[in-house]
């Protein structure tokens, strides 16, 4: 059952007494072959979980880096079904790293929720985050995902008060994604001291591990968040490496993976010597 890949990974992280590192990449950025090579290299570079963005033409909650990544991928003909193909190829060599798909509603609506959920499960997808499907609209999607045993991962945000938190964590499994800043991806910076009490709040309401993302770009900040959260998500800083490598005529895969290495190293060592556990 696919949910267990996420549960198993968080259980292992807990046993190790450290936070996980979650790498976000845009499927097919800058092209299918390179995107697949990056995906295959992520676990070795230190990614404990992987978020795979599926591109959408109108990503209303993304800042410029991920907007551009989506356009690059779409320009190369990336689609939802090719994203699933890519994940299936990845799964042939990796049975343990959880894969979370992340994107917007319309490609899923267009495919049909049931068909999508079946195909995603078959490809080896463990969880799904849909930015523009809040709990109020999630019923039909949650039903389809339940039937296919794919986790629906929810977003909690700085605007989520305690009352709303109970709505947000309904029908969620795997983990909860705490959006550390009010804003789009890759613009504002997350402050660990501000984030910490919210992580506690989300954990209490959901009984699930909490991953923190949006606004984490450097190893230093990743380490600071790793001291207060169960996992740290970095996205914009990684997709920016894709753009930069292309600009500098460098190898995209090695540039992205070396960034992942430096970030994951910071996350792995963040709690060394720290006496209290979270």
């Amino acid at each position: 059952m696919s949910t267990s890949r996420i549960d198993a990974r968080f259980a292992a992280l807990k046993a190790e007494g450290r936070a996980g590192f979650v790498a976000y990449v845009m499927a097919g950025d800058p092209d299918y072959a390179t995107g697949l090579a990056i995906l295959k290299g992520l676990p070795g570079a230190g990614a404990d979980l992987i978020e795979v963005g599926f591109p959408f033409s109108d990503p209303m909650a993304e800042g410029p880096p991920i907007q551009r990544a989506a356009l690059r991928a779409l320009g190369e003909g990336m689609t939802l079904s090719k994203t699933l193909e890519m994940i299936a190829e990845f799964r042939q060599g990796d049975q343990t790293t959880p894969i979370i798909l992340m994107g917007y509603a319309n490609p899923l609506v267009s495919r049909g929720f049931e068909a999508f959920a079946r195909e995603a499960a078959a490809a080896g997808v463990d969880g799904l985050i849909v930015v523009d499907i809040p709990p109020e609209e999630a019923g039909p999607l949650a039903d389809a995902l339940d039937a296919a045993q794919v986790s629906l991962i929810r977003l909690a945000t700085p605007t989520t008060d305690d009352e709303r938190m109970t709505v947000v964590v309904r029908r969620t499994s795997g983990f909860v994604y705490y959006v550390s800043v009010a804003g789009v991806t890759g613009v504002k910076e997350a402050d660990a001291a501000v984030v910490a009490p919210h992580v506690t709040r989300v954990r209490k309401a959901s009984g699930l591990p909490v991953a923190v993302g949006f606004g984490i770009k450097t190893p230093e900040r990743a380490a600071a968040i790793a001291r207060v959260a169960d996992a740290v998500v970095v996205g914009s800083a990684l997709v920016d490496e894709v753009a930069l490598a292309a600009e500098l005529n460098e190898d995209v895969t090695s540039r992205v993976l070396s960034k992942v290495e430096s970030l994951s190293k910071a996350v792995r060592s963040a709690r060394v010597g720290q006496t209290t556990t979270v």
């Binding site: 990503p59 267009s110 605007t159």
Partner: protein, 404 residues
């Protein structure tokens, strides 16, 4: 086709739905804000003090009621039903957009918001938003596609004169949908103080309902005015469709009068047999964009495709959810008009009636002859002349191969 409801006024339902259309597909960060807005609107719409305040500004500042004018020469030209024009172009700022802006700015102030953002296509909504912000002393930021900034320069200048900051949007196709994306990104970033003043009856609940209710003043006036002029209701009511606010505003008070045909006209751009059009209902299928489920221009993978229209105000790949529903239940009919047909209608209206219509409104005018002949000599057709065409003279000149 879905079953027709017994009571159109009962929609949207408690979930913000018109049948399967509408809803609140927004990022979690915005959900509490959208709920706050729904509650504030719910309280305001039943508050007599709010209505009195709005009515006062509509009368003395906007200049309502707008006339219902018998277009004698257009009528004669087509040789069919009597054609009446609802003169929304005579409102302050030159279009129907101010009706909605006045309502929403009063609501924003009731909610204690201190910063206003808006998106605009033709610039008419941007101008109307900038106008009410100037009137009430609130800062205004207008997102506008870079392509539209170029083709609607006079309106950009007007907004600047009114004290608004116009931010050109270069992402995506750099037109109205991208301006809306950028406005949503601003809102999600400035959650404390900012009010998003959406310019059409689209987006997430409660906007489609709220904008409709603010624009329904058009239809309510038409009802009274046509009873006075003709002693009966019209046979058909027509309006152009961008997001659908001027259309739903004039349609809504007539939904229960099944004898009144409701006809929207979408922009067919270079033709419905090409991919360069902006007709969401005639050329799209249901999907989710900008917070609601509605008809959308999209490819087989669910990627939104670019709309194309000579009219910046109709250049949008979606349509308000209530129209999608009225189409599905068969209560309203949606026709199309091409760029060239609309240009011809623009000139015809200027020459025969001495009125330069907005190029948006000219899309409805392009089909009024067909409808008037269809309805026949003893019939009555009312057309919503949603805006004035001064802003379009450069575009029209360019298409005529002239420089001004």
């Amino acid at each position: 086709m879905s079953a027709r409801p017994n009571d159109y006024a009962a929609y949207p339902d408690a979930n913000g739905r018109f049948g399967m259309f509408g809803g609140q597909y927004v990022p979690e960060t915005l959900m509490p804000l959208v709920h706050d807005l729904t509650a504030a609107w719910g309280a305001a719409k039943t508050d007599p003090a709010f209505k009195a305040e709005l009515d006062g500004y509509l009368k003395h500042y906007v200049g309502r009621p707008s006339p219902l004018y018998f277009a004698e020469r257009l009528t004669k030209h087509f040789g069919g039903a009597k054609i009446y024009l609802k003169r929304e172009e005579l409102n302050h700022t030159g279009s129907h957009k101010i009706n909605n802006c006045m309502g929403q700015i009063l609501l924003a102030m009731r909610m204690g918001k201190t910063r206003i953002i808006a998106e605009t296509g033709a610039g008419q909504h941007g101008v109307a938003a900038a106008t009410v912000c100037a009137r009430f002393g609130l800062p205004c930021i207008v997102y506008m596609g870079a392509v539209d900034v170029e083709r609607q320069k006079p309106n950009v200048f007007r907004m600047n004169l009114l004290g608004a900051e116009v931010r050109p949007v270069t992402s995506g196709s750099a037109t109205l949908k991208d301006a809306m994306n950028e406005a949503l990104r601003d809102w999600v970033t400035n959650v404390e103080d900012t009010y998003y003043l959406i310019g059409t009856a689209a987006g997430m609940h409660p906007y489609p309902e709220m904008v409709r209710d603010f624009q329904a003043v058009i239809g309510r006036e038409v009802r009274e005015q046509i009873m006075e002029a003709e002693g009966r209701l019209p046979d058909a009511i027509m309006a152009c469709i961008g997001g659908g606010s001027n259309a739903i505003g004039i349609f809504h008070p007539f939904l229960a009068d099944e004898g009144v045909k409701l006809i929207g006209v979408e922009a067919a751009g270079e033709g419905m047999d090409t991919e360069r059009h902006a007709a969401a209902i005639n050329g799209g299928r249901p999907g989710v964009l900008h917070g609601n489920m509605t008809y959308l221009l999209q490819d087989t993978e669910g990627q939104i495709t670019e709309a194309h229209s000579i009219s910046a105000g109709l250049d949008y790949p979606g349509i308000g959810p209530e129209h999608s529903w009225l189409h599905d239940v068969g209560r309203a009919t949606y026709l199309t008009a091409t760029d060239l047909e609309s240009l011809d209608a623009y000139k015809l209206c200027a020459e025969l009636e001495g009125i330069l219509p907005a190029i948006e409104s000219a899309h409805a005018l392009a089909r009024v002859g067909d409808v008037a002949r269809d309805v026949g000599k003893d019939g009555i057709v009312v057309l919503n002349l949603s805006g004035r065409g001064d802003k379009d003279v450069a575009t029209v000149a360019a298409h005529l191969g002239m420089r001004i």
